[in-house]
């Protein structure tokens, strides 16, 4: 059952097309990873879902539904009622994402008071409960602290607890561990994983790190130049990657045991093109070994067994041979 459905989402910044017809769906209670390199449009997609795009951006979609409700028709006021309540978001930079001028408790409490009303006391109690839930020791003391008194890992835990204040159904996490040290990253991911299972949360996790994707995702969508080029359950994607870009990306990652030290890594030649409005065909064609003149035309979305879709003219067998 899909909680969030995105159909042919388009986002533009002036003449630049940041997202070009991206489609995917996040099911209830699943962790869906949106993976891609910088500039592929994955963060912008998440912001578009939350209605947090900059005013200069334009958004268009054939469908943008949350729990069956059409989001594209909602006013800013109606969106703000949903945000923080039924859908919440955490960000990459825990250092700057909390307001330096207010205590942790005050910033957490205001979410509940805004959406549910009630006393500040009740909101603080709930905040303390959630801080404990995200494994922060002595939550009562932490409520009175300011963000600068916390380490990066703790701040990200606070952000997560704050996102959970109203018991949302969807949590969007935009590169939540990129700014953190590796050991802390594992702890935060572990926490997200547990919360997801215990609370039945749906998580849309945006990341560039294929290692994270492999370990936490149920389902993966790979983005390239504003399009979802491949989407599949995690085992399927890593076991039988089909789109040439996905295959290239996976070959670039040094994996202990797979590529011997000193051996050259696989790589994708060239750079990501800047794509404007009116660009047609496959955006990956300049970097693709299999590209031909036909790649300048319309590219179909192919569906394989096991709920596996990819955006390419070539047959899986053709791709596998290269």
């Amino acid at each position: 059952m899909a909680l969030l459905e995105i159909e042919r989402l388009e986002i533009g910044f002036g003449g630049l097309a940041a997202v070009r017809g991206a489609s995917f769906a996040v099911d209830k209670g699943e962790t869906h990873c949106l993976v891609g390199e910088s500039g592929c449009g994955k963060s912008v997609t998440a912001l578009a879902v939350m209605g947090l795009l900059a005013p200069t951006a334009t958004r268009k979609a054939a469908g943008l539904r949350f729990d069956g409700q059409d989001l594209s028709g909602l006013s800013e006021r109606e969106m703000s009622r949903l945000r923080g309540d039924r859908m919440a978001m955490i960000f990459q930079e825990p250092m700057t994402s909390l307001n330096p001028a207010y205590t942790v408790g005050s910033q957490m409490a205001e979410v509940l008071i805004r959406h549910r009303g009630g006393s500040k006391k009740a909101a603080l109690d709930r905040a303390a409960e959630l801080l404990e839930r995200v494994r922060i020791t002595s939550p009562g003391m932490r409520l009175g602290q300011y963000p600068h008194q916390l380490s990066g890992g703790l701040r990200q835990r606070v952000m997560i607890a704050m996102a959970l204040m109203c018991g949302p159904e969807l949590l969007i996490a935009d590169e939540p561990t990129t700014a953190l040290d590796v050991t802390v990253q594992a702890q935060i991911l572990k926490l997200l994983d547990e919360l997801q299972r215990e609370l039945g949360l749906a998580i849309l996790l945006i990341t560039h790190d294929l290692g994270i994707v492999a370990r936490v995702a149920h389902r993966v969508s790979v983005m390239y130049a504003g399009e979802v080029v491949e989407t599949a359950p995690v085992a399927e994607l890593f076991g039988a990657p089909t789109h040439p870009y996905t295959r290239g990306l996976l070959s670039c990652v040094p994996v202990p045991g797979k590529i011997a030290p000193g051996e050259p890594l696989g790589s994708i030649p060239g750079i990501v093109p800047r794509v404007g409005h009116g660009f047609t065909g496959c955006a990956f064609r300049q970097r693709c070994d299999l590209a031909g003149p036909d790649c300048e035309g319309t590219v179909p979305r192919r569906t394989l067994a096991g709920d596996h879709q990819y955006l390419c003219l070539r047959e899986p067998t053709e791709i596998a041979r290269s």
């Binding site: 910088s38 050991t183 702890q187 572990k190 790190d209 670039c252 040094p254 994996v255 030290p261």
Partner: protein
């Protein structure tokens, strides 16, 4: 065995920082008594989390910072006896951020040629031809020499930085997180290029990174830093297959390889984040260590030879007796 190319002897670096103009000064122990050697042709990887002192160590080795204590020998000569020009011919840096590492107001050919010009006495025509040759070697079209850094992609900028580092044909390149700011596909290009150049130019690298998978791929020897000290050092293969120090184990455990089904590892480290301005007594890792014993809080462990490498841990110490 010949003399090591770099010999770091008991180097310490402390900083006094003030918060604002009138803040209370704090003493930060960035590097604390580090010794390390780099032999010709080796790639030594230095890994650790932010604030462990690995970048400070790089700056000391590059001569950008005079260590508070200890000394660095390069090719048998004391680093601080070398003139800037002599040092530049031996050792060069490649930095992490390809945006801040190139002067935005200068053209690519001037950036790449800058070390040659700084040497003085090299005719302009020779500078030009050497710049073009090295640009070609790192995979840049010499016609790009006319561009400004803003007109290049991240990967191209990093190639410019590598060309600048190699134009003097140094023997050592200090790579401080050279691919951390790059996308995976570009990272692979740069790592492959660095490996090629090392073979062709006979370079040695000091390779600093927080990404253990990358370090395993490029390094022949690895040093793990924690709060200013090297807690474990070994041949790369031995360290990755048989880590001794609990911190090394935790670091290795937290590497997320792209293998589905393995789940997220339990790291078991405490929440006490390392703070270089407030180094704990005894073993500096003990507040986070899952296997700490009472001794760890009081006495600092000594360097112990183990599995062909060196470790600083009471448990390893006890086992070796």
């Amino acid at each position: 065995m010949s003399q090591p190319l770099i010999e770091i002897r008991n180097v310490s670096q402390t900083f006094r920082v003030k918060d604002g103009l009138f803040g209370k000064p704090r003493r930060i122990m960035a590097v604390d008594g580090v010794s390390l050697t780099l032999n010709a042709g080796d790639v030594i990887g230095v890994v650790g989390e932010s604030g462990c002192g690995k970048s400070t160590l790089a700056r000391v080795i590059l001569g950008l910072q005079k260590p508070t204590a200890g000394e660095v020998l390069i090719d048998g000569k004391r680093l601080h006896d070398l003139s800037g020009k002599e040092r530049a011919r031996l050792i060069q840096p490649v930095f992490q951020d390809p945006f801040s590492s190139l002067n935005p107001r200068r053209r690519v050919r001037d950036i790449v040629g800058m070390p040659l010009v700084a040497q003085g006495g090299i005719p302009g025509s020779e500078v030009r031809s050497r710049v073009e040759a090295i640009m070609q070697r790192v995979g840049l079209d010499p016609a790009m020499g006319e561009r400004l850094p803003a007109q290049l992609s991240g990967g191209q900028r990093q190639r410019v930085a590598i060309a600048r580092a190699l134009v003097l044909r140094p023997r050592i390149v200090v790579c401080d997180e050279p691919t951390s700011a790059l996308d995976v596909s570009v990272q692979a290009q740069i790592l492959n290029l660095l490996a090629e150049l090392r073979r062709d130019f006979g370079l040695s690298y000091l390779f600093i990174s927080h990404n253990l998978a990358v370090v395993e791929h490029v390094a022949s020897e690895v040093a793990v830093m924690y709060l200013g000290r090297i807690v474990e050092r070994n041949r790369s293969a031995d360290l990755f297959h048989n880590p001794q120090h609990p911190y090394t184990k935790a670091l290795l455990a937290s590497v997320l390889t792209p293998e589905p089904g393995l789940g997220i590892p339990e790291i078991g480290l405490g929440d006490a984040m390392p703070d270089p301005s407030n180094v704990p007594p005894g073993c500096r890792f003990h507040p986070r260590c899952p296997v700490a014993i009472s001794e760890c809080a009081t006495r600092a462990p000594v360097v112990t030879a183990s599995q062909g490498g060196a470790v600083e841990c009471h448990l390893v110490e006890a086992a070796s007796v």
